[in-house]
């Protein structure tokens, strides 16, 4: 059985505990990197990560991009969407097509 985790600032992610996700509040960046690595080894198939955190953890997220598990998905935190999630999608399109054609949709 796999688990779902969520990482981010305490205030953004606390509520997700109510619906049964494993919540990992993170304040320090070094700590966050270690947490991701630990979760990846530890049967977490999906890790949601708030955008505020994701923009500082690009390298770590990049590392898990090409492996089938875990899926690290940026979601907006409580200070609003920064468009990082969309950027990830755009990067994927650019990688596959060679040009960004997402705007055309």
């Amino acid at each position: 059985m796999f688990k779902i985790g969520i990482m981010g600032e305490r205030d953004s992610v606390l509520g997700f505990k109510a619906v049964g996700l494993s919540v990992f509040p993170v304040e320090q960046m070094e700590e966050a990197e270690k947490t991701i690595d630990r979760l990846a080894k530890d049967d977490f198939a999906v890790i949601y990560i708030t955008e505020q955190l994701a923009q500082n953890l690009k390298e770590v997220i990049e590392k898990y991009k090409d492996s089938s598990l875990p899926a690290i998905i940026p979601i907006p935190g409580n200070s609003g969407s920064k468009g990082i999630g969309m950027q990830v999608l755009k990067d994927a399109v650019e990688r596959a097509v060679g040009a960004n054609i997402l705007e055309a949709f």
Partner: protein, 217 residues
Amino acid sequence: MAVMRVNPTRMELTRLKKRLKVARRGHKLLKDKRDELMKKFLELVRKNKELREKVEELIMQVHENFLVARAVMSHEALEEALMLPKMSVALRVSTENVMSVDVPVFEFDTGDNDIKDIYSYGFSNTSGELDSAVSALYDVLPYLLDLARMEKSAQLLAEEIEKTRRRVNALEHVLIPRLTETIKYITMKLDENERGNLTRLMKVKDMMLEEARKGVN
């Protein structure tokens, strides 16, 4: 394009011709694979984009709800209320094969709780805002999971497309021209040898005729 360093022999020629045939075939197959992958990918990305927009909107609403809940309740009370969740989400992961790419499929299982039973706290000490926040979050959950599946699939497909495209290009612009060039070189060399041989034979014949005529006289 550079010619490969090979011996210009007939055997080498047949070998190279065979390789060219295989390369052409591989090129065609890979090109088809790339086109099909691209089709799937674009379809997926379009859906993914819509879903992400929707999820982001929903999540912002959830955050707003929680913000209100935090405002009307004390921090400790809120944390206490959420400390022991009733619901647990277990995830089943299987893989689906899309054009030889294994993409994950997530199915989640919230246990046997029914929907009215998602609140992990008594209602007396908590505010109604918290209830609506939790319920909104519960509604977002399936979308969130779907988003995870799609986004991971998109990333994996993108990787595969990139790889396939590189292979197609390598075949098209490097290997196949080089093979054709080498084959041409060998054919020309062999023809040249043939011509050289022929002239030599004609020359020998002339010399022999000369000799014979001298013998007669």
